[in-house]
């Protein structure tokens, strides 16, 4: 559909471009807004931005500990277990055996999933059990995770296939050269599904920043965050472009259907009670 010649076969133009394109059928012109994929397939850019996200999360976690007056040294290893096992889950549960790559390749280069990394906090539970820490830290981690997921996916947005084809006059597009690298047809607008996720996590971070000391019980913040993300992700999967597994739904959606049962059981405990009054100063 792009006829202006901006997307040359070896071109790397990636900035937003607005085209007036004539409609062949009726002769009218319509506006075509395409945003290119600036660093298609560039692992260094992807890792650098993701690394910034992880760094921001660790710094915010340290700040939250200070703000809450939490000085227990056992929180350090618990954070370590949370990061390590979250990452392991994000890799292991994303393993697609149908691809038939070696175990080493899969471990070194395999896919990672935010969803599987986030759902279930086995690393935190293991860390707490091993260190003997009893208090809930479910209010400590979610804002840091959301901050990481605001910054980190920018790397994905700049480098990866974004989502499903829109079929309209806007979206993220690739040059023919980029399409040869990351796949898919060139010059076609794709859903910026990763941008939707970034916006979601920005909103979640803002809400958690505002209400993080006011939920009825310790740990409720984590339940609210995971539940809202699960619902959001279930919806956004329809434009994400992941492989459809069964009944028009992707693997993450089927995974989420199982998780919903657990979340429906947990959510009433949060909304069954009113919010705590806003506290000034430090909170324990």
């Amino acid at each position: 559909m792009i006829t202006s010649g901006r997307w040359s076969p070896t071109g790397t133009s990636w900035w937003a471009s607005v085209h007036r394109v004539p409609e062949a059928s009726n002769g009218h012109c319509y506006t075509l807004l395409m945003i290119g994929l600036p660093f298609a397939g560039d692992g260094v850019v992807h890792a650098a931005v993701l690394g910034l996200g992880i760094r921001a999360a660790l710094l915010f976690h340290a700040y939250e500990k200070l703000r809450r007056g939490l000085s227990d040294p056992r929180l350090r290893p618990i954070a370590g277990f949370a990061v390590a096992f979250g990452a392991i889950r994000s890799r292991v549960l994303k393993w697609d055996v149908s691809r038939q790559v070696s175990l080493a390749d899969w471990w070194g280069n395999g896919d990672r999933s935010i969803l599987t990394g986030l759902v279930g906090a086995c690393g935190v539970h293991l860390g707490k059990r091993l260190t003997g820490y009893r208090e809930s830290i479910g209010d400590l981690l979610p804002p840091a995770v959301a901050l990481a997921l605001v910054i980190g996916p920018v790397g994905c947005l700049l480098t990866e296939l974004p989502g499903t084809p829109i079929g309209g006059a806007w979206g993220i597009a690739r040059t023919p050269g980029q399409a040869a690298t990351v796949g898919g047809p060139p010059g076609v607008g794709f859903q910026p599904s990763i941008a939707y996720e970034i916006v979601f996590h920005m909103a979640a971070f803002e809400l958690m920043w505002r209400f993080r000391d006011r939920l009825p019980r310790p740990g409720d913040l984590f339940i609210c965050y995971v539940t809202s993300y699960a619902f959001f992700r279930f919806g956004v999967e329809f434009v994400r472009g992941n492989e459809v597994l069964w009944l028009g739904m992707s693997r993450p959606q089927w995974f989420l259907l199982g998780i919903f049962l657990l979340l429906f059981w947990r959510m009433p405990r949060v909304f069954g009670k009113s919010l705590r009054p806003k506290l000034e100063g430090r909170v324990a």
Binding site: H46, A47, R76, A87, C156
Partner: protein
């Protein structure tokens, strides 16, 4: 008759307290643990940290299930260090380093393996 000493009761000095044991010296650094752990894992699985670029390819002597043995050993050592109070900073740093290695991985989230499986 009371045994209290009135002078002691009005003494401006605070009552003597039991000596608290000095805190254990902090050993290690979280940041150093992250750097060392991540670098070691990249060196093991990609030859060098340049392996973060997907076109550098995969360079390791590990094959088959043996690829997971170093990760298991690393996790066990890092976990053991993390739960010991004297070395918890090191351990936490190494655990975070493992997470960083996995999340940053080789290349982008969903492309590398797709390309590999197309080549197979």
């Amino acid at each position: 008759m009371s045994d209290d000493n009135p002078e002691e009761a009005w003494s401006p000095l605070p009552p003597p307290r039991e000596e608290e044991p000095p805190p254990e010296p902090r050993r290690g650094s979280i940041l150093l643990g992250i750097l060392l752990g991540t670098t070691a894992l990249y060196a093991l699985y990609f030859g060098t940290t340049r392996g973060i670029a997907p076109d550098e390819g995969y360079k390791t002597f590990l094959a088959g299930p043996a690829a997971l043995i170093p990760i298991g050993a690393y996790l066990a050592i890092a976990g053991a260090l993390a739960i010991r109070p004297r070395t918890s900073r090191w351990g936490a740093g190494l655990l975070i380093g493992l997470g960083v290695f996995i999340l940053l991985g080789g290349g982008i989230c969903v492309m590398a393996l797709s390309q590999m499986s197309r080549r197979i």
